[in-house]
């Protein structure tokens, strides 16, 4: 319980920092930190595969993508004049919302957990993916193929030049 609470606090604080940060680069790095914390949580929930993926894809690949995009549009950091006030009040608002949720949503979550229904069998991850969720494999292939052509179509002018 304490471990979970600790991780959640880290993720919350990191997320707030990512939103509040003045520089986009810091936001991107904060996001990576949040991903790492989340993967630690997943280890705790005994979901090692998910944690590995989270670590490699979210903390790795996505951060790289973000940082390269940020470096392309770097000067916008200065150009975009945004009011800071809405971000500076975020911690306060988050606190208020947290209290609100603890009062109003907690009972709802408690009542939801009353309806838990455990499955009879508990197959292994590989088994699940191959036997029960083979459709997802097709989905993954589809979405990866889509991603390839998306990038190809969006950057079409550039690849020609």
């Amino acid at each position: 319980m304490t471990y979970n609470l600790f991780i959640y606090l880290i993720i919350t604080i990191v997320a707030i920092t990512a939103v509040m940060a003045r520089k986009m680069l810091i936001s991107a790095i904060m996001l990576a930190v949040a991903s790492i914390a989340l993967s630690l949580l997943m280890f705790k929930f005994s979901a090692p595969w998910a944690a590995l993926f989270e670590l490699s894809v979210c903390a790795g690949l996505i951060t790289v993508l973000f940082i390269s995009a940020v470096s392309l549009v770097k000067k916008e950091d200065m150009a975009l004049k945004e009011s800071r006030a809405k971000f500076t009040i975020l911690p306060l608002i988050s606190g208020a919302v947290f209290i609100f949720m603890a009062i109003f949503l907690m009972p709802y979550f408690e009542s939801l957990s009353g309806f838990t229904r455990n499955p009879e069998i508990q197959p292994k991850v590989g088994e699940i993916i191959w036997k029960f969720r083979s459709a997802d494999l097709l989905g993954q292939i589809t979405i990866l193929a889509a991603a390839v052509f998306v990038v190809k179509s969006v950057f079409y002018k550039r690849s020609e030049q």
Binding site: E82, S83, A85, K86, F104, L105, Y108
Partner: protein
């Protein structure tokens, strides 16, 4: 049933075939259509023979479960109407063979065939829903029929006018059908007729809406205004087919069905019906009397005669109903014939303005004789068919005890005869203008249907006993009218005397007008046209002040302004209030309220939360 279905399905298939035939082929489309319509007519006539022989057939295709069934039933009334419709389709198809002014002949025959198919389906339907399907289908082809009958912009406008008027009333009728069905629990007309509905509570609304649909189809006041416009802007073939024949047949058929078969009417509704009939007679015949265009004059008469039929059915006694139905078939015959003469005259002389016509009797003798017979029939001159049906209607009206409606009908009769005297005199008699010296008789294909109709006028007049005994009586006794009393016969009673008096008065009036207008027959109506008060009424009527469509358009124009301002108001609300709410929360947030995207996102999220609360997700 199969034999009746031929009249529905064969024209439909042929219509689809006609689209495929190239525009360049000569006579192929015409001959194909005439052949198909001839087959349909023979089939329908055989069907009529079967059902008058007591064989009542029906067809049920249950395909919507409890909601409805595709139910067709051929009782005597339906078979009779089916035969009549097929006859008019055939006649008009033959007539139009050598008429050029009918638009593209491909689309003309396509429309005729589609109308024949759908109208046949409508009269055969036993389920209100099936009938509605055919009825609404006809609406589409009414539009294309008018719109394609001429290249002009006016034709498209008139088509739109006809479409909107009939579309609006059909919509009302649809609501009426829904009410009727929910009151009785079924769409099936035979089932409803077993326990007739009464005019209590919702029943009144249901019947009134159905009534609007029926009389609007028949072209009664105030839904008639597209007919005179169509007379000017579309072809004589169209006029002799749809407004003169098919619409009357269907409208009056449905009126008879609802008023006698489905509903048990009250005496107050009887007055409403009779008043509607009388008003239609008077208003339309007044307008007809002063027209200077051959076809437009006829088109107002087509409206006026509808009034007689409604009056007849509105009497709710056997004599009146028989008269109404008999008048329906008679009117279709002679009015079709009259429109055909108009088309022939227009074809041969190039104009339909009666001021420019004259003395055509010698040039076009057959057309003229047909005109005289049909005109005598419509005016109710003694031994022709119009006389007998009108006499039945008068008798029925007098039997109800409301003398005023009888007087109105007689006044209508007087003006009808007067206007036909004027029309006939100025077109076929008098001096022949020099530019008409070379006019020739119309070709045989146009004369044949005219002669046939004139012959029917004579036959149904001299032998009025036969159609009344064999067609009208069985039809109405099958839909539940007691026909014990004698319906026909030539009586030398007071009605005959009155009719003679009316004829003499009309002739006198014509001679007076002729004299006052300086011996110009086409101006013989001027002494009434320019009478004080009447001239003012005529003026504003000519400006379409009373036209329900124009009224609607005026209303739409004003209300559009209103709706626009309401729309602006809501626009302001959707634009300003969400941002206004944000303003209240914090001025800072409003400053960063960055245009459209954020607003979209915020609204979406707020909507999501509201939905979840509504769905009880957060309980």
């Amino acid at each position: 049933m199969t034999i009746n279905l031929i009249a529905v399905l064969l024209p439909f298939i042929c219509a689809l075939l006609i689209i495929l035939i190239s525009d360049k082929t000569k006579y192929l489309k015409e001959l194909l259509s005439i052949g198909v319509l001839l087959t349909s007519f023979i089939a329908a006539a055989l069907g009529l023979a079967y059902s008058s022989g007591g064989i009542q057939t029906s067809l049920n295709l249950e395909w919507l479960g409890e909601i409805s069934a595709l139910a067709l039933k051929a009782d005597i009334l339906s078979s009779f109407l089916l035969a009549a419709i097929s006859m008019f389709s055939l006649a008009v198809a033959i007539y139009s063979f050598s008429i050029d002014k009918k638009g593209s002949s491909k689309w003309f025959y396509f429309n005729i065939l589609m109308t024949q198919s759908l109208a046949s389906g409508a009269v055969l339907s036993d389920s209100l829903l099936t009938m509605l399907f055919f009825w609404e289908g006809m609406l589409v082809f009414l539009y294309t029929f008018i719109a394609l009958s001429s290249d002009s912009h006016e034709a498209k406008n008139t088509a739109l006018k006809a479409f909107l008027i009939n579309g609006a009333t059909d919509l009302l009728m649809m609501v009426g059908i829904i009410i009727t069905a929910s009151l009785s629990g079924t769409f099936n007309m035979s089932a409803i007729s077993n326990s007739k509905l009464t005019l209590i509570g919702w029943g009144t609304a249901g019947y009134t809406l159905l009534l609007i649909g029926a009389v609007s189809k028949a072209g009664a006041f105030p839904f008639h205004t597209w007919i005179p416009d169509a007379a000017l802007n579309s072809s004589a073939s169209f006029m002799s087919y749809v407004p003169a024949a098919i619409d009357k047949l269907l409208g009056i058929y449905f009126l008879a069905r609802i008023s006698i078969y489905l509903y048990q009417l009250s005496s107050s509704m009887q007055i409403v019906l009779m008043a509607l009939g009388s008003i239609t007679i008077i208003v339309a015949v007044m307008m007809a009397f002063v027209q200077q265009d051959y076809k437009k004059l006829l088109s107002y008469h087509a409206v006026s005669q509808t009034g007689y039929m409604i009056l007849g059915i509105g009497t709710l006694n056997p004599i009146g109903i028989a008269g109404g139905l008999f008048h329906m078939i008679n009117h279709a015959t002679y009015k079709s014939c009259l429109f055909m003469t108009a088309g022939s005259v227009e074809r041969q002389t190039g104009t339909s303005n009666i001021e420019k016509l004259g003395g055509l009797f010698n040039k076009m003798p057959v057309t003229a004789v047909c005109f005289v017979i049909a005109a005598a029939a419509i005016s109710g001159i003694a031994p022709l068919n119009g006389f007998f049906s009108k006499e039945l209607i008068y008798k029925g009206t007098l039997e109800t005890g409301y003398v005023w409606f009888f007087v109105a009908a007689e006044l209508g009769s007087f003006l009808t005869l007067a206007s036909f005297l004027k029309l006939g005199h100025s077109v076929f008699f008098g001096k022949t203008p020099s530019y008409l010296e070379n006019t020739k008789e119309a070709p045989f294909s146009t004369l044949f249907p005219m002669i046939a109709f004139a012959a029917i006028c004579l036959a149904f007049g001299f032998g009025a006993y036969w159609p009344i005994e064999n067609l009208i009586k069985p039809s109405i006794s099958q839909i539940g009218v007691n026909t014990a009393s004698e319906l026909t016969g030539f009586h030398l009673d007071y009605l005959f005397a009155i009719s003679i008096a009316v004829i003499l008065l009309a002739i006198g009036n014509h001679l007076l007008g002729f004299h006052l207008a300086g011996n110009k027959a086409s101006k013989a109506s001027d002494h009434i046209h320019h009478a004080p008060l009447l001239s003012w009424l005529y003026d504003i009527a000519e400006k379409k002040f009373f036209d329900i469509y124009e009224m609607g358009m005026r209303f739409v124009k004003y209300s559009a302004g209103w709706i626009f301002s309401i729309d602006r108001f809501f626009d302001k609300i959707t634009d300003d209030i969400p941002s206004g709410a944000f303003n209240l929360t914090s001025e800072k947030i409003s400053a960063i309220h960055n245009g459209s995207y954020s607003l979209y996102m915020a609204i979406s999220l707020i909507g999501a939360i509201i939905y979840l609360i509504l769905a009880g997700g957060l309980k």
